[in-house]
Symmetry: C2
Subunit: 392 residues, 2 copies
């Protein structure tokens, strides 16, 4: 038997900038990025914007045009593509085609840039279209939700849904750069704002106890949408996600997926609710369920479990919505386990908790114990609500 | 200004095996590949086969089934998808969807395999569908043409055409493994067989003078389709391509593309001929043109140029087809220059020759000199043909 061998490494590097008023002509951050990467040829820049952002920031397109009139490092393509926000952007294949079509029409090459401004869904769509057009056009992300600023927008994954299957098509494609502008967050609904906090709780629970206790101390400021508190949360959460991605397996070749703590049921819940339940809301429910399971399994103390449930409740996450309750072996939530396994490929691998800040992988989940964990969370909520009703 | 930084490297490794009768149950190479990567879960394997291969190898599907009955390391999905061979497979988006649909229907996960058996076009299609399904399913290539065994099939690129634009959608995605079986080559037409030899001449001319002189010595054996000679050519050519890819810029982030020597006009020619001219045939024409240009530019001696043209002619490549002739500034071939620049992005970067085995990048091409180079090649062919007619 004769053979040849190939072996090489590819280095990926990018920065996540934190700023306010990104497109104020006096703010050089965006333009400096291009100055820092001089080029012998003209580079074009094409913007795709989330409808929800365009609607709530009516001056945005005007500001972008003014910015590139003042800063001529790259050549702005005048036409800005607006796409619907939220999951709709990932469900409609026409939107993918519109971006590819723009690449064709405007002659956007691999030295040019496609920028996405929006929530995680729009970033996933645009990131995918950019990654496969001409085998990868440079992609800049400007995330505008809490979730996308602290998690999805700073990572390496993109994707669209295919016939209702979440992220069925996608790639691993690190961005050229990410710009987090805190002003975008001011126009989020309370639900969208809160929703993104659950990813911070998630990563704190598996990686960083100090950060969890910091969140525990700041639930009120977060509930009141205090800017400095949120800025700290986002930056710290982003750093934890970056550390994880930059670790052993950036492109997720193995079955372990610790950042998916709480997610096996969350994915199923989103789908069962027809995406009425937001991703972050579903994750909060999933965290509650798997934390209660960890306690009932004898891995986590009840004291720690109650800390977790109290933080979720203090942020007004609804963690015992009837939709998440697992009442018997026929509960559709339980199908989430096999779907999660299919999604990972290979062995079922679920992260549970042995402590606040410490995850542990298991390869099976006991359905009876899950029914009990669900009942525990429901009982906790009833107790919490009655207590807090009395207090007020 | 505050920022976070991300930086990581991803290692890619794969082997290219050379064998005969890959699916003979007595041949362990294919099955050993899976044994060498034990898994805790059941891995499925799904085959997509080039129609041109299925037609000329009527026992292939039966042999594959018998092979996986004898070797149970992976679970064969009984349904084998047959797709049209050649450029048609990259032009029809339905074929892409059929593969994605199969991933969905058969529950093919990221620990499973999608195998493509076929020419470069089918490998490009299947590689692309595998790369974006679930963000990347492991992909095994079994190239069945000279070109795909020595060049496209052992590299890191895939792609499909979009509205007639070549490779408009695609990714960089190294295969899990490649298996080159020389028996497939026996059923190629003479045109397809010869066509792939031009990529070997190309890479020899820019990287390896010894290899060029070896080809010069073996034109007759190659023309007569001698197996050992072709096996040597393929393996050596594959190694040169691997060395290049494994060098500085595997995923082609810069503008330099030395392996595209002779290709700026070739791409245009294929298109102008409605893909009647095969890729390798177009490359042979492109090599002749750019070598003649290198001579007229004073970079290459006429003696070396004539060696190159003689080798191409001895292999019966038609290097002065009217379609490649550049008669004046209005010649459509010249548009290939700006299209090539758009394809690369950034600066126009063309590789020329200063010697056999030595490429040199230039950033502009003189149209008048290209007209002269084209005339030189035509005159050479007339002379060569008359000489050879007299000899016979
Ligand atoms: N790629 C990844 O690694 C990754 C990780 C986690 C989640 N995700 C994906 O992210 C998506 C969820 O993202 P999300 O939580 O950011 O929400 P989203 O993108 O679904 O947006 C929610 C809503 O907020 C609107 N919106 C966005 N920014 C706004 C602003 N500044 N002001 C007012 N409205 C605004 C949008 O128009 C939309 O209606 C899901 O599709 C999920 O699968 C991806
Ligand atoms: N991905 C890359 O890096 C890369 C590099 C170079 C070329 N390519 C692509 O490769 C394609 C050309 O590939 P090709 O030259 O292998 O030809 P091809 O794939 O176009 O196939 C040519 C014909 O041969 C038939 N065929 C294939 N194997 C056969 C066999 N063993 N016996 C009989 N018939 C057989 C096919 O059905 C088809 O009709 C182009 O699309 C080109 O863009 C890709
Ligand atoms: Zn999440
Ligand atoms: Zn080629």
């Amino acid at each position: 038997m004769s053979h040849l061998e190939q072996s090489f490494s590819v280095k990926f590097e990018y920065k996540i900038f934190f700023t306010s008023s990104l497109f104020d002509t006096g703010n050089p951050i965006f333009s400096d990025f291009f100055k820092g990467r001089p080029s012998e040829s003209v580079r074009k820049i094409f913007f795709v914007v989330d409808q929800g952002v365009a609607d709530t920031h009516p001056d945005l397109l005007k500001d972008i045009k003014a910015y590139f009139t003042a800063h001529q490092d790259v050549q702005l393509i005048e036409h800005v593509l607006i796409v619907p926000g939220g999951e709709a952007s990932k469900n409609d294949p026409i939107l993918f085609e519109q971006i590819v079509e723009a690449v064709n029409t405007y002659g956007i090459d691999r030295h040019s840039y496609i920028v996405a401004i929006g929530g995680g869904a729009v970033l996933d769509l645009v990131g995918y279209a950019a990654a496969v057009s001409h085998r990868g056009i440079k992609h800049i992300r400007i995330p505008t939700t809490v979730l996308s600023q602290n998690d999805s927008g700073i990572g390496v994954k993109n994707g669209i849904n295919y016939k209702g299957k979440k992220n069925f098509l996608g790639t691993f494609a690190p961005p050229a750069s990410v710009f987090n502008d805190d002003e975008f967050l001011t126009t989020l609904t309370d639900r969208d704002y809160r929703s993104g906090i659950s990813e911070a709780i998630k990563v704190a629970l598996i990686k960083d106890p100090e950060f969890f206790y910091w969140i525990e101390k700041h639930t009120q400021q977060l509930a009141q949408r205090d800017t400095d508190t949120m800025n700290y949360l986002i930056k710290h959460c982003a750093q934890l996600h970056l550390n994880h991605i930059g670790g052993d397996d950036p492109f997720e070749t193995g079955s372990a997926r610790p950042l998916d703590f709480g997610h096996w049921s969350a994915h199923k819940l989103e789908q069962l609710s027809n995406f009425e339940v937001l991703h972050g809301e579903a994750v909060a429910m999933g965290i509650a369920l798997d934390s209660a399971y960890s306690f009932l399994k004898g891995m986590l103390t009840e004291e720690k479990l109650l800390k977790i449930l109290n933080v979720l409740a203090a942020l007004s996450f609804n963690i015992s919505d009837p939709i998440i309750q697992i009442n018997d072996q026929q509960s559709p939530i339980l199908l989430g386990l096999s779907e999660f396994q299919e999604h990972l490929g290979g062995l079922l691998t679920i992260t549970l908790l042995t402590d606040i800040g410490t995850g542990k992988e298991v390869h099976e989940m006991d359905h009876e114990l899950l029914i009990k964990a669900s009942a525990y969370v429901t009982a906790f909520t009833q107790h919490y609500t009655s207590q807090n009703t009395i207090k007020h």
